[in-house]
């Protein structure tokens, strides 16, 4: 496992270095196009590029997690709120060797999905939607959480964020270039050719191509890495849980649900690669150049191809069986034990969708600090903190119930806490 993490870190460092050089190259190209004779202008634009880059990196490092969780409307929960979910997260931390248990968040939406954030494992958080909790059984939920923990453990949450920010900086520079070409830059650059000098013209074309193509190239590189990381997180999840079928059926359920969805989920582009499946994309047979995730059907087929073992090698073999010569893992990642047999499904894993829905609703009410009042007719009334009356009538039998003083106090406290 640690071999894999180290190999991953090395590759990530390479990715950032390549993207960084593209960024600097674009800066230089812009400076060159604006003033071919003056190297000082090129140097200036290289400095501008680096400043934009570092500024964006610092901004994302200073509490980017909080902002991402907030835009996803995620709310933190404690172990007492959802013991099973919390237990599953703890289980996967143990299986992966992650030393600190990430914070657990829930998002109130029927779309089943999950994501992880955190530049450092110590600051990491896992968020799952209520739809996911209601639709998956324990084994499936465990595998989805395992996939997210793998993103944290492999440091994808760190490097994909850094890479995403770098790509963002490159795109900003590209825009800057177009603006400067439109405003005044054009006259000077055409005068700079001065005719006859063929070498300068070639360099000029190369620079223009660089400024146009680099943002596209950087994006493609970024997405290719993102897709590979998804495969890798799947492989790790199978290794942690020793139950690849759990992830396969979870992906099946999640993507089946996603196909029915009519409106796009509210989430940011930066966060999209961190989800178990991309909430912004429709279910497709094949992943394109600009997909954050591989095609879900493909991921499912690879996982179902692992029959004998749950090890990384088994995943690699299943992947090769499907894709021919390509591979997802380098030999240095595969340096570990081979004897990792697949386990059986846990019994009683399925509590029944109905019951799970009810439990999730109860969880939401608990997080939202609802008060629960039982009526003699068997009805349970759930009162939101906004309820500020002293009495409540049972909607089923009509009995009037005065609210006990401690309940009134708790509701009032919850109201205060919300403001």
């Amino acid at each position: 496992m640690f071999e894999l993490i180290r190999a991953n870190k090395r590759k990530s460092a390479w990715l950032i270095a390549v993207l960084g050089s593209i960024l600097i190259g674009v800066g230089y190209a812009i400076g060159f196009l604006l003033a071919p004779e003056d190297p000082a202008v090129s140097a200036l634009f290289v400095i501008i590029a680096v400043v934009i880059w570092i500024g964006m990196l610092l901004a994302s490092m200073a509490g980017g997690e909080k902002i991402l969780l907030k835009t996803a409307k995620a709310r933190e929960i404690q172990k007492a709120d959802a013991p099973q979910l919390y237990n599953i997260v703890e289980e996967m931390c143990i299986a992966s060797g992650l030393s600190t248990v990430p914070k657990v968040y829930i998002i109130d939406t029927p779309d089943p999905n999950a994501f992880a954030v955190g530049l450092k494992p110590e600051r990491a958080a896992v968020a799952v939607t209520t739809g996911l909790m209601a639709k998956l059984n324990r084994d499936e939920l465990q595998n989805v959480v395992a996939h997210e923990i793998a993103h944290i453990n492999n440091r994808d949450t760190l490097f994909m964020t850094l890479a995403g920010v770098t790509v963002g900086a490159i795109i900003i520079l590209g825009e800057l270039f177009w603006r400067s070409m439109l405003f005044g830059g054009r006259g000077r650059s055409s005068g700079g050719g001065r005719g006859g000098n063929q070498g300068a013209a070639v360099v000029m074309i190369v620079a223009v191509l660089m400024a146009i193509l680099a943002p596209i190239l950087a994006r493609m590189l970024y997405f290719a890495c993102s897709r590979r990381r998804e495969y890798l997180a799947d492989a790790c999840a199978a290794q942690y849980t020793r139950y690849p079928e759990g992830l396969a059926s979870a992906l099946d359920k999640i993507s089946g649900q996603a196909a029915q969805r009519t409106k796009k989920a509210e989430t940011s582009q930066v966060l999209a690669p961190m989800y178990i499946i991309n909430p912004l994309a429709a279910r497709s047979r094949k992943a394109g150049w600009f997909s954050t995730h591989p095609a879900t059907d493909d991921r499912i087929r690879v996982l179902r191809g692992m029959t004998s073992s749950a090890s990384l090698e088994a995943y690699e073999q299943a992947y090769r069986a499907l894709h021919g010569k390509e591979s997802v893992m380098t030999p240095s990642m595969l340096k570990q034990s081979k004897d990792q047999s697949v386990r059986d499904a846990s019994k009683d894993a399925d509590a029944g969708t109905q019951r799970q829905w009810r439990e999730v609703q109860d969880l939401l009410h608990k997080v939202d600090q609802y008060a629960v009042l039982a009526c003699a007719c068997g009805m349970k009334m759930k009162l939101p903190p906004e309820y500020d009356q002293e009495k409540v009538a049972c909607p089923k039998c009509g009995r009037a119930h005065p609210l006990p003083p401690e309940m009134l106090a708790a509701l009032a406290a919850a109201r205060m806490g919300r403001k």
Binding site: N87, E90, I94, A95, D348
Partner: protein, 183 residues
């Protein structure tokens, strides 16, 4: 001139040996960490069992033997010291618990008890955690043992007396004897 080459060779060799040694130390520490994680989870299970037995007692009046065997297995597991002994005793405890889960099916009142349900989730999860920490521990042990056996790290391991670690296997005869029943 020659002695410079000799010096360089010696320096490279020293760096190489140091890095192999450090790698072995890191793995050995990982094995120790993984073992302490198993220990934490086993203790947690020992702590949960009296609660479980207490809750079940009121409902399972005819299963005194089953409950007693759990209590006894727990006591034995708590006394075990070495990796091998612990594995054996824990295997026995696991066997006693799976027998218990089989008979629980005959007590619908117990299965509906809220306290029992939350205890069951805790125990299921603790058992999973025992399993996962065991899995992680065994993976680490496998890596360490592979390093100790294979060339060239075996020379360094022999020189500094790195010892192979023991796998943690819960397979006890009692556990194997429990029939697998699916519901």
């Amino acid at each position: 001139m020659e002695w410079i080459i000799v010096l360089i060779v010696v320096a490279v060799l020293a760096v190489w040996i140091i890095s192999m040694y450090n790698g072995l130390v890191r793995l050995r520490n990982q094995v120790r960490n993984a073992w302490s994680q198993i220990d934490v989870q086993l203790k947690r299970r020992h702590d949960l069992i009296p609660n479980l037995v207490e809750t079940a007692k009121g409902y399972m009046t005819h299963e005194r033997e089953t409950l007693e065997s759990i209590t006894k297995a727990r006591a034995a597991a708590m006394d075990a010291k070495s990796v091998g002994d612990t594995a054996k005793a824990e295997g026995q405890l696991q066997g006693a618990l799976s027998k218990f889960y089989l008979v629980v099916e005959n007590y619908p009142d117990l299965k509906a008890n809220q306290n029992f349900l939350s205890l069951q989730e805790e125990l299921t999860s603790t058992e999973n955690k025992v399993g996962f920490s065991r899995q992680f521990y065994n993976d680490q042990v496998m890596q360490l043992n592979n390093r100790i056996e294979s060339v060239p790290t075996n020379i360094v391991a022999g020189l500094f007396r790195f010892e192979k670690s023991e796998f943690f296997e819960l397979q006890s005869p009692a556990e194997r004897a429990v029939p697998k029943v699916s519901f």
